[in-house]
């Protein structure tokens, strides 16, 4: 498995402003499933969400988001992608661009961009709650080709607070809008890597 830095863009709304954006640093970034089932008892929520996970559900989340946007247990993140050797050359799509498009709704609103890390499996694991899937990798998810340029990594249920480094607010012109909050409880991913110090 590997650890991947990702960005997540969320647009500003009447119900989601600076206060809520900062609160998310400490509550974690929830999937829409969790957002809409937040009061479900844990002993019921865990098996329920487990039964909602699977390859079909993941591909529906990626390819037909409109159908599941209020119920999906998955969370789309962007890590960027390079499309190699096309007839136009190798095309690069950085993570920030995708996150920025979603955060600003393509220039129609202010928004927030979060930097997070997540553990990604080297093979598909859409049913395993604690790890993320590298949907941008067509060797693993060829059915997700349509959205490859978004460089998607798909997490599940929630991005825990400890994995969120910061949030930054951006204007509709994508420039930083003067609001940035670092997560005081952030845990650096290097602390869980396989690089060990000598005893």
């Amino acid at each position: 498995m590997f650890i991947q830095w990702c960005l997540k863009g969320i647009s500003e709304r009447p119900t989601f402003g600076d206060t809520e954006a900062e609160a998310l640093l400490y509550s974690g970034i929830k999937s829409n499933w969790l957002f809409n089932n937040g009061t479900m008892p844990v002993e019921l929520a865990i098996p329920t969400v487990q039964s909602a996970l699977g390859l079909s559900a993941l591909l529906t989340h990626v390819n037909n988001y409109a159908a599941v946007r209020t119920t999906s247990p998955y969370i789309s993140l962007s890590a960027g992608v390079v499309l190699a050797d096309t007839a136009l050359g190798s095309r690069k799509f950085p993570a920030w661009r995708s996150a920025m498009d979603f955060a600003t709704e393509w220039g129609r609103s202010f928004g927030y961009v979060y930097r997070v890390w997540t553990i990604v499996t080297p093979q598909p694991a859409p049913q395993v709650l604690s790890v993320s899937d590298e949907v941008r990798n067509l060797n693993l998810f060829d059915a997700a080709w349509k959205y490859q340029s978004q460089g998607e990594i798909t997490a599940k249920l929630v991005i825990p607070s400890a994995q969120i480094q910061y949030v930054i607010k951006v204007g509709s012109d994508r420039r930083p809008a003067g609001f940035r909050r670092d997560n005081t409880g952030f845990v650096n991913p290097e602390t869980i890597s396989n690089l060990l110090v000598e005893i």
């Binding site: 037909n64 409109a66 190699a84 007839a87 136009l88 393509w106 220039g107 349509k146 959205y147």
Partner: protein, 307 residues
């Protein structure tokens, strides 16, 4: 003026806003990219990292510019797009050259940038390609793009060669430069044919010009493994591919009406090939002579408007 079926459903204000978003934010790409440039990547010596950063900034500007132009071209704004194509300063500097020096000088670019920018200049009938002292060069009225020789190897360069050939052809390049480009393709076909890159329809399309230099046995026959029939079939394949892509995008109603359906609205390789053929009187290949989808007719209508 040509308009892609289905785009009439788009909200006019949303369309203008989205095109403006892509163009207006071109000038902020450097600033935003630096904000989000991962400090973990700064393992290279500082200078190398800065060069890489600047290259990526231009790459992003080019992708945004390309998306803005695609929106204009499919929605009956060909003239507006043409005025943008003629000013590569948008991508190279982040603003139009009218807002600064009238030229952008002589700029060394990477393969993707060379292909994209020379393709746009060719559509605008501005300048042409030639083989300069340091490698391939594209000279426009406002400056030159150069692709250094050390970039001209590897699979990425092989993959774009057919596109470059059509860019060159669309600009009515000097016959001698077309000859050199053709020879390069012929040589590489012989050396790297097994890579599979030349199995793509974009490469087979070269077969249309397989007889370009016939009559002089000492000159290369470009794409010698492809005949005109291969080229013709490849053209139809690219048209079919474009048709099915657009139909797939349109079927995703949620994203289509928001102009967020994934995929390129314009097949730039097909477009420059069609423009080149029309400028070169490639009449036998026009869709009037064959059954064609409305999407294919749109492609040709667009190419006619640009030719």
């Amino acid at each position: 003026m040509p308009r892609l079926a289905g785009t009439e459903e788009w909200n006019e204000g949303l369309l203008r806003g989205k095109a403006r978003y892509y163009l207006d934010t071109i000038k902020t790409v450097g600033e935003v990219a630096r904000e989000f440039w991962p400090h973990e990547r700064a393992q290279d010596p500082r200078r190398v990292d800065e060069i890489r950063f600047r290259e990526e900034v231009t790459d992003v500007r080019l992708e945004q510019f390309t998306e803005a132009m695609a929106l204009l071209l499919v929605s009956d704004r060909t003239d507006e797009a043409m005025s943008f194509f003629a000013d590569l300063g948008w991508v190279l500097n982040g603003f139009p050259t009218s807002d600064g020096p009238k030229t952008f000088g002589r700029v060394s670019v990477n393969i993707r940038q060379f292909v994209g920018l020379s393709l746009f200049a060719a559509l605008a009938k501005d300048g042409g390609m030639l083989l300069g002292e340091t490698g391939l060069e594209y000279r426009t009225s406002r400056g030159s793009l150069t692709l250094s020789r050390d970039r001209q190897n590897g699979s990425e360069f092989l993959a774009v060669l057919p596109t470059l050939f059509f860019v060159a052809l669309a600009t009515r390049v000097e016959r001698v430069d077309l000859y050199i480009l053709s020879k390069l393709i012929s040589d590489l076909l012989g050396q790297y044919g097994a890579l599979g890159l030349f199995e793509r329809p974009e490469a087979k399309l070269l077969g249309i010009y397989s007889t370009l230099f016939e009559g002089n046995s000492s000159e290369p026959r470009i794409a010698f493994i492809f005949g005109q029939l291969d080229g013709f079939m490849a053209l139809r394949e690219l048209e079919r591919r474009y048709t099915s892509r657009i139909r797939e995008m349109r079927s995703d109603r949620y994203h289509w009406v928001r102009m967020n359906a994934p995929g390129d609205l314009v097949d730039w390789v097909l477009l420059i090939a069609q423009v080149a053929m029309l400028r070169d009187n490639g009449l036998p290949f026009l869709p009037e002579n064959f059954p064609a989808s409305p999407e294919t007719h749109f492609c040709w209508d667009l190419a006619r408007a640009l030719a």
